[in-house]
């Protein structure tokens, strides 16, 4: 039996088992896991919730290709947790309701504000979930030999069971299991490849160490190698510092504004646990994020060393072919390359017809063309084989990628379903709905969201499209949601008019800019045509500043918020028993 199949079936069985154990009995269970999750457990669930298929499979390869330029992802996707812990999570927990639109709607005493927040949350979550579902489809179609749509169907079925039955409670405990699977699958091959290249078992130390048996640092050698082949330096970037600054900032503030991350902090018992939990989440995330740049560098070094200038041996009858090449006194291309060729993730095109594999950058000194294409995901997927680990480890990596995709998808589904059943139905249109009815609606909404997500995954099978739209999620979260939440806590004077103006200022220009330069007429624009030289990935930060300024100006020009609201803000700043504050809590009482 195939190891990949064993791992995938085994882990799926585990997730279903957990789902049956952690069923939700009330809306409090369904939306926020009864506010009873231990901070370390929540930290682990948040880490799985946060780290998507892209973090797990693609990030190391992305960094390997970009070198220093890839740092934007490392700093951007971790630094946001400092903002969450210090500026948002404990206060939103103290606020004591279920969703991000709950906060926006109640703090700004306005259902219009609530609806704008729902639109932002739905938009951010749907763009994000499409990528997760197509990630699942790809994992199935490449490694288990089923077709792409069937793969998505399997993924949908499994998420359906634990999200619909268990809501946030089921999602939390399956995410913990998924974290364990994915971190194990990521670090085991990383340790072995670190040993192989640097002789140090700890990848973070190998990263700053010397090449095994040589007196030159690994990074130095890699930098010289890539420059010698005509690539950009590994240790610098051609992007302007200002653009790198804006992209990093957009990813950080975007991370802090993503609804599926924020709602995880509603599941712990109190504000002190919310901040502690953000710390644990970052510990669990940092384990992968500090290993990823090491894996990227090791793998790029290793791939160049083992593939460049070798004689190509086709996958058919590899053993005999490589022996023939060795006997002729040449070095054969490695076995892993032949094995992965059938997946389409690596390819060789012998442009100069010499039978040798040439890896070259755009400015190659010898003028040769590049003949080898390597997909970003291969850096993680082929690691176990490159490090000559046993076959069961390869299957584990596939299960890890699926765990990363499914855990993120489930977190997003909770945002989508609660936006419909709670924010739209219970809080806006049918205010007298009973808890039991709401729970039933929540399950139906979750089921509907699973199906919608599946179709979005099938529709966006074109992954280039997915990569393009992820910029939307972070840009919009940073520019539209982060400012109103931050000002809502730290500036008592912020009022309804200011909040609505601020969210719209964040939403519309960010959307238009990214659409224009990513999908519309400006797709082929060069950096000097960008506004202030800021790329679409970084525009969210620039618009965020604008949206805060507009929010403050409009608030100052209009009436201050009612006394009840000002009392509410005072109250959530201070941990302890939260009291009810008139109009702020008339629609829904805070839960302790």
């Amino acid at each position: 039996m195939d190891w990949t199949l064993i791992w995938v079936l085994g882990t799926f069985g585990l997730y279903i088992g957990i789902a049956l154990w952690a069923r939700a009995g009330s809306t409090n269970d369904f939306y926020v896991a009864g506010h009873g999750v231990h901070p370390v457990v929540n930290g682990m669930a948040t880490a799985a919730d946060w780290m998507s298929a892209a973090s797990f499979l693609s990030m190391a390869g992305l960094i390997a290709g970009m070198g220093y330029g890839g740092s934007v992802y490392l700093m951007g996707w971790t630094g946001g947790y400092v903002l969450l812990a210090l500026l948002l999570a404990p206060f939103l927990r103290e606020f004591g309701k279920f969703t991000v639109p709950d906060f926006v709607g109640d703090r700004y005493y306005s259902n219009t504000a609530r609806l704008v927040a729902v639109v932002c949350a739905l938009f951010v979550s749907f763009t994000y979930i499409a990528g997760q579902m197509s990630g699942v489809g790809i994992a199935f179609s490449r490694f288990l030999g089923v077709d792409f749509n069937t793969g998505i169907f399997f993924g949908m079925a499994i998420v359906f069971v634990y999200a619909v039955l268990g809501g946030m409670k089921g999602v939390t405990y399956t995410q913990v299991a998924q974290y364990v699977v994915l971190i194990f699958a990521y670090t085991v091959p990383a340790i072995f490849i670190s040993l192989m290249i640097t002789d140090n078992p700890i990848p973070q130390l190998g990263f700053i160490g010397n090449i095994k048996g040589e007196d030159i640092s690994m990074l130095q050698k890699l930098d010289e190698t890539v420059k010698g082949l005509g690539f950009e330096s590994y240790l610098a970037s051609t992007k302007t510092s200002f653009d790198i600054f804006c992209i990093t900032a957009a990813l950080m503030f975007g991370t802090a504004g993503l609804p599926h991350v924020i709602i995880r902090f509603f599941t712990v018992p109190n504000a002190a646990d919310a901040r502690l939990s953000a710390g644990w989440a970052l510990v669990f995330i940092a384990i992968l994020y500090t290993v990823a740049p090491a894996v990227g560098a090791f793998a790029r070094h290793n791939i160049i060393e083992s593939v460049n200038e070798t004689t190509y041996v086709p996958a058919a009858d590899y053993a005999a072919g490589s022996q023939r090449v060795s006997e002729a006194g040449e070095s054969p291309s490695p076995a892993w390359f032949a094995n992965w060729e059938s997946t389409g993730l690596v390819a060789f095109d012998d442009k100069n017809g010499d039978g040798q594999m040439q890896i070259r950058g755009p400015a190659a000194p010898d003028g040769l063309e590049n003949e080898v294409t390597i997909n970003n995901d291969i850096y993680v997927l082929a690691n176990p084989e490159i490090a000559q680990l046993p076959e069961w480890v390869i299957g584990l990596v596939v299960a890890g990628g699926l765990a990363a995709a499914l855990s993120t998808a489930a977190g997003l589904l909770m945002v989508i379903s609660s936006a419909i059943s709670h924010d739209l139905c219970r809080r806006t249109f049918f205010k007298n709905m009973s808890d039991k009815t709401e729970l039933r609606v929540a399950r139906v909404a979750a089921a509907g969201a699973v199906i919608a997500a599946g179709f979005m995954g099938i529709y966006s099978a074109d992954l280039a499209f997915v990569a393009q739209v992820v910029a939307f999620a972070f840009g919009l979260a940073a520019a539209s949601l982060f400012p109103v939440i931050l000002l809502g806590i730290f500036w008592k004077r912020m009022n309804r008019e200011g909040a609505i103006a601020s969210m719209l200022t964040g939403l519309i220009p960010t959307f238009a800019y990214i659409w224009h330069f990513k999908l519309g007429a400006g797709k082929t624009a060069t950096p000097d045509q960008w506004f202030l030289g800021v790329s679409p990935e970084g525009i969210g930060f620039v618009v965020m500043i604008l949206s805060m300024a507009v929010g403050i100006a409009v608030s100052l020009a209009t009436k201050p918020p009612p006394q009840d609201i000002q009392d509410l803000v005072e109250d959530i700043r201070i941990p302890g028993k939260r009291r009810s504050h008139g109009i702020a809590d008339s629609g829904m009482a805070p839960v302790d």
Partner: protein, 88 residues
């Protein structure tokens, strides 16, 4: 404030929270946007092991500092809450 000795002092608490938050955010900014981006070229003349310092901050160092910042914040907030008799 004319509070009884055991009752929480809410007026003194919040300015101290703001001061702590701003201090920690300054460090957050310094290690990422500062060391990793704006000062990278300058810092790259120094090395930590075999890695240029600015590059290392951008890819590894800033993340370690982020983790330390959050745990320091948790401890400092617990201290503040005790000092101002606020129960979490």
């Amino acid at each position: 404030m004319a509070d009884a000795p055991e009752s929480p002092d809410r007026k003194g608490y919040w300015p101290e929270v703001i001061r702590l938050t701003l201090t920690l955010l300054a460090i957050w900014f310094l290690v990422s946007f500062g060391a990793g981006i704006l000062l990278r070229e300058f810092l790259d003349q120094f090395h930590i092991g075999g890695a240029p310092l600015g590059f290392w901050f951008a890819q590894n160092g800033s993340i370690y500092v982020f983790v330390a910042l959050i745990f320091y914040y948790c401890a400092a907030m617990n201290r503040l809450e005790k000092k101002y008799r606020i129960e979490g």
